[in-house]
Each structure stands twice: as structure tokens, then as C-alpha cells.
Symmetry: C2
Subunit: 205 residues, 2 copies
Amino acid sequence: MPEVVVRRLAVYLRILREADLSDNRFVSSAELGEWAGVTPAQVRKDLAMFGEFGKQGVGYQGRNLRDELARILNTDETVAVAIIGMGELGAALARYIQRRHAGNREYPFRAVALFDVDPAKVGVSVEGVAIDHLDALPERVREQKVKLAVVSVPAAAAQAVTDRAVAAGVRAILDFAPVKLRVPPHVRVHYADVSLELHQLAFYL
Amino acid sequence: MPEVVVRRLAVYLRILREADLSDNRFVSSAELGEWAGVTPAQVRKDLAMFGEFGKQGVGYQGRNLRDELARILNTDETVAVAIIGMGELGAALARYIQRRHAGNREYPFRAVALFDVDPAKVGVSVEGVAIDHLDALPERVREQKVKLAVVSVPAAAAQAVTDRAVAAGVRAILDFAPVKLRVPPHVRVHYADVSLELHQLAFYL
């Protein structure tokens, strides 16, 4: 499936997860398109790839569509996430993910393992999860079956922790460090560097 | 300048800001390229767009190049940032930006204005900055000359706060809400939705 389609499906799912879908509510491709910033035709085309769950003139049954999209995007069950690097950003992400998960069962991500090398941080609990030393990563990742990791360490350490995470079975990485990571072909990396985005935006001021 | 070039320049600048550039250190296009994940030829081509500040066989004088890139990307002086929406993510971003700025003069962003509509949050101080009510946004944005805003409100509120920010003079927005924003042509929007990235990555598991 093309990356842009995956992205749009994720947007539709995020929208449906925030929408009020009570009372057997139907959602039209026009509504979804307006929120997602795409045409109704694009919405229908994207969703038609997975079968016909819309009805002409009525739209999509909201909860069905949400559950279908969750299944397609592998988030119909809770997804265990490891966060590697518990500096300002890592700690903020851990709190964000945990509280979202605690507050809403629909939110599928849960930070189950947190890592750092700083002895002052190891053992400290963040939203109920104790920070482990990085050396415990292989064992913890294997026992918790973590496939998705957030890398929020300084640039100089990013490749080394990535190598360890990949060796332990991680298959998708959200990288907040300002470096391009080298990974084997079966591992997917997305980049989400807040400071980098701010730097790019500043150019346009 | 093409968007991809702006992005690469921002990556080079981030790398140089984290690197040890003491002792009049030179940085080669090979070094920069390795960190940034591009070829040395690409690095040289990107930087040659702004004049010849490299020397054949020696590379770039690190501090000069960093300062030149900062000037090109409008981050040679502190950039005032407003954060609209002080939920979990907004608060985390405020702390992250303030602490980075406090800890390192090289970090150019500073959160000077924080907004929310929740009476329980208004007046609360986050890293030394008091949260204002959203109604104060036009006045605060104008008096602080804020051009860059982070939108971290729920999806349903994102367009309305964006309209108010744009009317007050904001020209660049980093949007963490899962909706596409409609803005006039002179306003630039980048999207940085952590949960959306996690959803996309989960697809590849």
C-alpha cells in the first residue's frame, strides 16, 4: 500500500476516534474529507481498496469504519511502545502516551518500557512505568514483545541504540533525534523532530 | 528555495549545533552527509546555493557554516513561539522548548506565550511562563511579535484557533491536531502529529 494512503487512513482513523459515533451514526465521505483536507472522491477511493463498507447516499457506519481502519492499521489491540532516552522530550512523550491511554481506551498506544543510561534516572517511575537501564533493553523488549520504539536520545547515541533495538526485534521506529538512522530493510523509520520542524518553519518567517 | 532543501539545511544546522566546533574545527561534506543521510555531493550542492564557504580538501569552517545556516534559516536570533492548547502535549512541548532554550543559548526557540480556555489552567505557570486565556491571544501575539505558533488543541478547535492566530499576525504553524488547517497563502503549516506517526508505523508491524 502506498505510504500516502497509509497516512490518509491514519488520519481518517484519528478523526473517527475523536468523533462522537454514538447512536449508530453514519459519516459521509464529504465529512471525512473536509476534516482530512482531501476530496470526498479521494476518501471513497481510499476506503474502496478494502471492500465496500460505504452505502451510496448514506455514507459509512461510523463505528464499523473506525474498527475496520483500526484492524487495517494494526491498532485494534493495544500496541506496546518502548521509549529510548528519557530526557525532556522522552519523558514528555512517555507522559503524553500514558495519559492518553489511561484516559481513553480507544487510544491504542501504551509505553510499556522506558530506557536511559543516566543512573539518576534508572529506577524512577514515569506514569507508573519504571525507567530501565539501556542494558536491559534486549531482555525487556523481547519479554514485552515490543515492536515499536521511540528514539529520543542525543544525536550521537541514536544509531547505537537503534542497532540494539533492531537486534532485539523492534521493527518500527519513530526517531526524534536529528540523524538519519541506518536500519535493515524490514525495519521502518519515521522522523518526527520537533526542533527540526521549528527550524524549517522559521525559514518562512 | 525548494522545501526539501530547506529541510536539509535545517538538518545540517541541527547537526552543527550539537557538534563540538571548538578549536576552529573544520567539517567536511562527507561528515555532514553521513550524519544527515545524504551524499557529500548533495551537501556541497545545497551549500553552494549560498556562496562558497567551503574550501576544497578542507571542508567548512564549522562555526562559520553554523552561523551562516542560522542566518539563512532566520534562527540567528531568538524566535518567539506561542503554544495554543496546554493539554498533555502542549504542556510537554512548552517544557521541552523552555528547558532546551534555558540549557543552551544556541537553541533559538523560546515559548513566550501559552494559551488555553480551561479556567483551571489559565494563570498556571509552565517553566516561568503563565498560561493566558485564548481571548488574550490577539493582544499577546501582537505585543510579543509572535510569528510562529504551535497548535496543540483538540481537532474540533484547531481551525478556529488557527484563524485567530493568523488574524493576529502568525505566519507559520506547527500543527499537532489531527486536522488539515485552511490558511491564507502567506501562512505556512507543517504537521507534526505524534499519534498519527505512531498509527502509520503500526501499519508496518
